[in-house]
Amino acid sequence: MKLLTANFVQCTVKACGSSPDCFPLHFDQQSPDIPLELAHEDVDYSPEFIYNILPRIEWTALLTTARELGNAQLPEKKPEIENPHAPENEQLLKDLHTLLLETQVIQGSMRCANCGHIYFIRDSIPNFLLPGHLVQ
């Protein structure tokens, strides 16, 4: 699972849908059975591609996810970039490229801060199927 995906998903337990705590899911507590494993996977770099993703990103949630996965380098506020090809933006866009697209969560778990439900990631695929008693 690419790190960017953490910005698109939330707890799927129905009662959590209206809670602000259902997003983002948290990587801060990992299960010893499936220890967190990250990997780097090369993706072709395109400054425009990152530039076009930026408006979609919930920045505060991304900061949380990145910190929990060990990256505290992001600016506190979402950068406002006008020209993706300007030299002064290159480092930031490259860093975001590495973080969002090339960082893979191979395995681990994500926790809902509202209900505590744990979603496991195995072979890079997060599982959002709920156990029977939580399905409404």
Binding site: M1, K2, L4, T5, F8, V9, Q10, T12, F23, V43, D44, S46, E48, F49, N52, I53, L54, P55, R56, L101, Y119, D123, S124, I125, P126, N127, F128, L129, L130, G132
Partner: protein
């Protein structure tokens, strides 16, 4: 005519093999290229998020990132664990894309609401008395029926998607493409969706053996 992606890694015992319905979907996406480009490839518009429900072999999403909107973001979902893995392989085998992830889930459970710009769904549309159950699939490790069977009128799963469409689609530019067979009564479905404020168009239909398949487009404007 764009080439059909290859799916050499596919295990046909475990994941639905691309068939007439899949190919119809590919042809129609091709016809929709001008519409999709006008709607989504404009200056200063954020990258569109394409979500395919029950993506199976991954052939449709792969075709989309190869030929239709290469710079979009892609998420696929499937309840079948084998489909989750093989669809990523299919994407890689055909050149990969910058952003594609697969969630193992029912429909779009787990995705935040309102994010989807383009929803693709080739549903389990075949009428059958029973609907497959997860409990049973877990026991037998046989997930194929989820790709096929849609309850008595073949609409059980599609109805859920249509009822909740407004929740998942981007309210301004969202568009959904959904496949029907004639026994699903698509013209009646279209009428009832129009009554609920949707703009509904049949993109195309085609005879496939004794079935007549059609793909329909749903937007709010």
């Amino acid at each position: 005519m764009f080439p059909t992606p290859s799916t050499t890694k596919l295990d046909r015992e475990r994941v639905y093999e691309p068939a007439e319905d899949s190919f119809l979907f590919l042809d129609l996406l091709q016809e929709e290229l001008p519409f999709l480009q006008t709607r989504f490839v404009t200056a200063n518009s954020p990258a569109p998020l394409v979500v395919e429900l029950g993506l199976g072999s991954g052939i449709v999403t792969t075709f989309f990132h190869k030929n239709i909107l290469p710079d979009a973001l892609f998420i696929g979902t499937d309840i079948n664990p084998y489909a989750c893995h093989i669809s990523k392989e299919t994407s890689k085998e055909n050149g990969n894309t910058r952003y594609f992830d697969v969630l193992r889930t029912n429909l779009w459970d787990g995705l935040r609401p309102g994010l989807v710009d383009i929803l693709l769904f080739n549903p389990p549309y075949v009428p059958d008395v029973v609907l497959p159950s997860i409990e049973n699939a877990v026991k037998t490790d046989d997930w194929l029926d989820f790709a096929l069977l849609g309850g008595p009128d073949g609409m059980q799963v599609t109805s859920v998607v249509l009822d909740r469409l407004a929740e998942i689609l981007n309210p301004v530019r969202g568009v959904a493409y959904i496949l029907f067979c004639r026994r699903n009564r698509p013209f009646e479905v279209a009428k009832s969706m129009r009554n609920r404020g949707w703009v509904v168009d049949m993109v195309d239909e085609r005879k496939a053996g004794w079935e007549v398949l059609s793909v329909w487009k749903f937007t709010k404007s």
